[in-house]
């Protein structure tokens, strides 16, 4: 296990957190996006299994250098393919990775008052994190 892009970005352009502690996976993605709308840097933090860490690593690797439009097309399937497939029980990890990228892009769009075609607000259960995690 040797993930790339682990960490945080100071003053990120967008941050997205998805997942919940109940199922045991939480992904947080940080993006740095240039004025021209290119993803300059991507980092992540993940609480989760090996597959969750691997998909986070791959998704952040794939988004770097992409335009926002391109970035929206990074699907869970693309992440899985890049990892040479995942066992069925781990497919949801790749879905989370896709959702985490989208959540970070959504945060970026909200901060900058941009409407990005095809981008929906993230659905996440992060409230549960605050309810239960530090009880």
């Amino acid at each position: 296990m040797n993930p790339r892009n682990v960490g945080e970005i100071e003053d990120p352009s967008g941050v997205g957190t998805v997942g919940n502690v109940k199922c045991g996976d939480i992904m947080k993605v940080y993006l740095k996006i240039t004025g021209e709308g290119i993803v300059e840097d991507a980092k992540f933090k993940t609480f989760g299994c090996g597959a969750a860490v691997a998909t986070s690593s791959m998704a952040t690797e794939m988004i770097k250098g992409r335009s926002i439009d391109d970035a929206l097309h990074i699907t869970n399937k693309a992440v899985m393919d890049a990892l040479d497939g995942l066992p069925p029980i781990k497919v949801h990890c790749s879905c989370l990775a896709e959702e985490a990228l989208h959540a970070a892009l959504w945060d970026y769009s909200q901060k900058n008052g941009l409407a990005i075609d095809g981008l929906k607000p993230p659905v996440n259960d992060i409230e549960e994190l605050h309810e239960g995690a530090f009880a």
Binding site: M1, E8, V21, G24, F47, A52, L129, A133
Partner: protein
């Protein structure tokens, strides 16, 4: 790189004396014990010697021992057998929330068939309260099935008291002792046990062989139909090499138990103390007193167990976890939830189970490798980041 096997509760290696004992029964004395010629007679004799040894290890009579294909089969047979045998008398069973799936899933099957099952809760220590058991008993209760020692957290149940209560109420008491036999003293007579399941591969025997002890007088019916093996109660040609190995393994385990459990308890306590003192935000799961000599189970807050196992594996350390990813479902271990752990703390659990091959050097190696691995995973964890912000806002910018 050193290989450190810390998962003896999952399975053990076959020890050389056991392997040696079983080998002749594959290609030399391979006769079917039901036949009458010489190589068959030798197999038959061997079968009965192994039965004597298993009986002696439990304080039972040889006629009370039935060999099976696994501990799981023994559990299935005991529970379904008694439930169905006494169906007319009642359809209520008492078990516990922390049983192995071999017991839990058998109970669930019976629930679908109209039986009622009470799953007794356990305390933080992973132990049932006998008062709860007493309250759960009903006139239609026919079976109490409670494990001797838990496979995940090593907690040891008050078997003797449970057995005494069951006996006073005329209820059959079965115990899954797969993790206990050969590790802690068992005596079916003094502990009031009516039925007991055990497995060879947890005590340095091979996989694919177990046994069920059935107290004389309990008319348990056959579960597998066919020939007249095991006095007509468990059909199928006997797994002679496996049974010989079980006999040898159980004999050795019991004769060495006192010394080995003293040695392992010391290593266990060194591990527990070492982990808790070197890694902050870590706690022990289960009882610190009524605990198997070889079991350590701790939770590391803010990290997930499977990632931890992968990083330990890269250091040659093989252990297990109760996280969802390792349980093959989306939920973490039912045992850790039953002792009151919230989900995220159950996901961060690590089980270490020691055995004959475990040494002081391995424990020291583990204690050296563990802290940086946990730190690395915490640096990667959004939960830890959140915690740091809450506990010490000055430490984290932004």
């Amino acid at each position: 790189m050193e290989k450190v096997y810390f998962d003896h509760a999952a399975t053990t290696y076959v020890r050389p004396e056991v392997l040696e004992a079983m080998l002749p029964y594959f290609a030399e004395d391979y006769g079917n014990p039901s036949s009458i010629y010489e190589i068959a007679r030798s197999a038959k004799k061997t079968l009965e010697t192994a039965r004597d040894k298993a009986a002696a290890a439990l304080g039972a009579d040889p006629a009370e021992i039935f060999f099976t294909g696994s501990g799981t089969e023994a559990d299935n047979w005991a529970i379904r057998g008694i439930a169905e045998l006494y169906e007319k008398k009642g359809r209520h069973i008492i078990s516990s929330a922390i049983e192995h799936h071999a017991v839990l899933h058998t109970c669930e099957y019976l629930e679908k068939r109209g039986f009622e099952v009470t799953y007794l809760p356990v305390g933080e220590d992973g132990i049932i309260r006998v008062a709860d058991l007493e309250k759960a008993v009903r006139p239609d209760t026919t079976l109490i099935t409670i494990m001797t020692a838990n496979n995940e957290i090593g907690s040891i149940q008050p078997i003797e008291e449970i057995g005494a209560l069951a006996r006073s109420k005329g209820i059959v008491f079965h115990t899954d002792a797969v993790q206990a036999v050969g590790h802690i003293p068992i005596n079916v007579k003094s502990q009031n046990i009516d039925m007991l399941s055990l497995s060879a591969h947890k005590l340095y025997g091979p996989k694919g062989v177990g046994a069920l002890y059935v107290k004389k007088g309990i008319p348990l019916r056959s579960f597998i139909f066919g020939g007249g093996q095991e006095r007509g109660r468990r059909a199928g040609t006997e797994n002679i090499p496996g049974i010989v190995a079980l006999g040898k393994a159980i004999e050795l385990a019991v004769s060495e138990m006192e010394e080995e459990s003293r040695r392992l308890s010391a290593l266990r306590d060194k591990l527990i103390d070492g982990i808790l003192s070197s890694v902050p935000h870590t706690f022990l799961n289960g009882s610190s007193v009524k605990r198997l000599p070889n079991n350590v189970n701790v939770s590391f807050e803010f990290i997930e167990g499977e990632s931890l196992l992968l990083l330990l594996d890269m250091k040659g350390i093989f252990a297990s976890s109760g996280s969802a990813c390792t349980s093959g479902s989306l939920d973490p271990s039912h045992v850790l939830l039953a002792i009151g752990l919230p989900h995220e703390k159950a996901h961060g659990s690590l089980r270490i189970t020691l055995g004959r091959s475990s040494t002081e050097g391995q424990v020291e190696y583990f204690l050296k490798e563990l802290p940086p691995i946990v730190s690395r995973l915490r640096d990667m964890s959004p939960l830890f980041e959140e915690y740091l912000k809450i506990s010490d806002p000055a430490r984290v910018s932004g």
